[in-house]
Structure formats: structure tokens, C-alpha cells
């Protein structure tokens, strides 16, 4: 499993174009938002800030996770299939994607604070929410990219499959973000946080159970 994780990292470092591509993707998205929303010197209201932020994170995550199976070469999966337990593969992919998502979201947060200013009062809770959201995104999207990779036009199928599933995570996350921005006491968000963790566990368990069936095909 650790070797698998290592393999993911080495591959990623070797394909520097992907990381560079994602970074530039993030940069240009943020910049487009900046240009379009601050026309004539208007500033963003906190609510718009949080929704823009999460939309950017969502799209970046979908793009970065989609390639975890779609980008794989034809022979690799057969090779891994003959060697390893599929549970290990999905776990290592989820962990890897989780780290990638956290990294990208934190970078996105930095960019947003740079361009749009920082409306968030409770930064540490916000970072915690980002980590939880990254966990939810990676747990469900990794699995879905495994499905989409086997469909014909996987580029289109991937977002179509993932949007409706990810909405429940997104709704909760936006709600908690609003609390962070308003600087409310942490006990206010407690219930939402627990629900979010529960949803993450549910989705991760589902991926873990169902993935071997994808792998067999």
C-alpha cells in the first residue's frame, strides 16, 4: 500500500505537466473570477466570496481527480489487477487524491485571499472545513472516476456523474463557511460538522465496498 502511494507520488512528480496544468488552471480560474467580479471596482460580498471559492475548488477537484483513472495507461490497470487487492488500490488513490485536493484548496484559499481580500473570521475552522471537504470530494470522486474511465466520452460523463452526488457535501460546506465568515461561535457549526463527517464516512465506505466490482471489468 505504501509502495502504491509512493508510485502515485513518483508518477505525479514525473508528470510535472499535470501539476503545472492544475496550478495554472487554478490561477486562471481565480483570475477570471477576479476580472469579471471586480469590474468597476466593486467588491465581493462574503456570500459571493464563499460560493465562488467553493465552485472553483469543486471544478479543480473534479479535474484533478478525474485523471486518477482516466489518465492511466491501458496496461497499468491489468498489471495492478494481477498483483494487488483492489481495496488497497482504491485506498491509496483516495489518500493520494485527498492530499492533492487539500493542497489545491489551500492554494485556492491563498489566491482568493490575495485577490479578493479575506472575509473569513475564523480561519482555523475554515481550514478544517476545507480538509473535510477534500476528504468527501476525494472519497466519492475517485470512485466515480473509476466508473467514468470505462465509459465512452469520459470527459463529459465524469462531471455529470459527480455533480449530483457531491451536492450534499457542498451544501453543508457552504453553510459552515458562512458561519466561519460571520465568525460565529464554533458550537454553532458543530452539528453540521458532525453530519459532514458522517457523510464522508458513508461515501468512503461505499467506495471501499463497491470498488472491487468496477475493478473486475
Amino acid at each position: 500500500m505504501i509502495t502504491l502511494l509512493k508510485k502515485e507520488f513518483i508518477l505525479e512528480l514525473r508528470r510535472q505537466s499535470v501539476i503545472a496544468g492544475l496550478t495554472v488552471y487554478l490561477l486562471s480560474t481565480t483570475f477570471v473570477c477576479y476580472i469579471t467580479f471586480t469590474l468597476k471596482g466593486s467588491t465581493l460580498s462574503p456570500v459571493v466570496w464563499s460560493s465562488l471559492f467553493w465552485i472553483t475548488v469543486l471544478f479543480t477537484s473534479i479535474h484533478s481527480i478525474a485523471k486518477s483513472f482516466i489518465g492511466e495507461k491501458r496496461g497499468t490497470d491489468i498489471y495492478l489487477y494481477s498483483l494487488l487487492d483492489p481495496h488497497l488500490i482504491i485506498l491509496s488513490k483516495i489518500i493520494y487524491n485527498f492530499l492533492l485536493c487539500v493542497l489545491l484548496s489551500i492554494a485556492c484559499m491563498g489566491l482568493f485571499m490575495l485577490f479578493f481580500g479575506n472575509p473569513v473570521e475564523d480561519v482555523w475552522l475554515f481550514v478544517f472545513v476545507i480538509v473535510l471537504a477534500a476528504l468527501g470530494f476525494s472519497a466519492s470522486l475517485t470512485m466515480l472516476s473509476g466508473i467514468a474511465a470505462r465509459a465512452n466520452n469520459s470527459g463529459i460523463v465524469m462531471p455529470v456523474l459527480s455533480f449530483p452526488i457531491i451536492i450534499s457535501v457542498l451544501l453543508l460546506v457552504i453553510k459552515i463557511t458562512k458561519n466561519c465568515i460571520d465568525g460565529l461561535d464554533r458550537s454553532v457549526s458543530q452539528q453540521d460538522l458532525i453530519t459532514l463527517v458522517a457523510i464522508n464516512c458513508l461515501v468512503a465506505a461505499l467506495s471501499y465496498i463497491l470498488f472491487p466490482y468496477i475493478w473486475r471489468s
Binding site: 470505462r150 452539528q191 468496477i214
Partner: protein, 220 residues
Amino acid sequence: MRSSWWKILSVLLLLYTFIGGLLMYVPRLDIVNETIRILYFHVPMWFGMISLFAASTWYAIRYLRNPGTFNDIYSVQLANVGFAYGMLGILTGMVWAKYAWGSWWHGDPKQNGAAITLLVYSAFFVLRASIENEDQRARLSAIYNIFAFIAMIPLLFIIPRMQDSLHPGSGGNPGFNMYDLDNSMKTVFYPACIGWILLGFWIASLRIRFRLIEEKYSLS
């Protein structure tokens, strides 16, 4: 005749629903007025949709345990009818919202949840359309079916309870059983639910039989 008792029951219950639902006494309320009768037609659609989707997921699980076109056909046709029920539910809900809330689409958590459910199953059909290999199509769509159905549970049953809503029965708005002091509406509502659910399964079973016959003749 013996095995079709539930179809006869469905027809009788629905006849009763239409006659009783449109003619019998309902509580007089402000704003809602006679539109309260939508209860007999709108709410059973959701019960029907949920039970059809649950049955579809059940057959998806059976497919994964025991791959065979049989289970796949069951699963897909149940999902098809469930989708139609969901569309009807959303349309009847929109008509009601126009009269009671003043706009077709109100952005209410329940409306949004229903829309997302339909999106999930649209994605399910898109996925099926984009895989050519039949075994693979059946297997992947079964996996997505299970995944989506279970991931939808928090969306439909937990999150809406945590938000304010205009929808009757949530967000401090009383549901119908608060107004329904003499239980007159329940006498139509419960039979209506059972009748609509049975009708859904009847339609699905016809579609399944049709597909099975098609399958048989395409092979020979």
C-alpha cells in the same frame, strides 16, 4: 387471477382516490383552500418514486452478486418508472407552488432535493447510454445506482430537516395531519399512497416483461 389481486386492488384504490379525493370533504384553510387536494396526488408520487428507486437499487445489488441480464432489466425498468414518477411529482409540486407560494420554482430545500434526485437518475441514464459493452454497462450502472441511492439519503432525509422550508410539514410549518383534525383526509391519503405505489410497480412489471420478451427474441 389469483396473482393479479394487487393490480385489481390498485385500480380500485385509485378509483377511490380520484372520486374521493376530488369530491370528499377537506378542511377549509386560508391560502391553500381547495389546493390541499394535491396531497392525494403529489405526495404519493414521492412515496412511489422512493419505493421504485429502492427496488431498483435492490436489483442492482442482486446484479452485482449474481450477474445476469434478468436483474439488470429489472433494475433499469424500475428506475425508469421511478423517474417518471419523480417528474410527475415535481410538476404537480410546481403547479401547487404557483398557487400557494406565488412562483413556479421557489428554491425551497425540498424542491431542490427533488431536482437533484432527478439529476442523479438522469446521470444514471447518461452513463448507460455511453457504455457500449453490455456486461460492462450493466455492472457499472448497477454500481452507480447503489452509490447514488445511498449518497442521496442524507440529501433527501437529513439536510432538509436542518434547514428552514416553506414546505408543509417542515421548518415549523405544520404538515397536513395538523389541520386534519377529524382524520377525514387520512381515509383518502393512505389508500392513495398504496394505490399509486402499486400502479408504479405494475407499469414497471409490464415494461420488464416486454424487455424480457425482446431479449429472448433478439437472442434466437
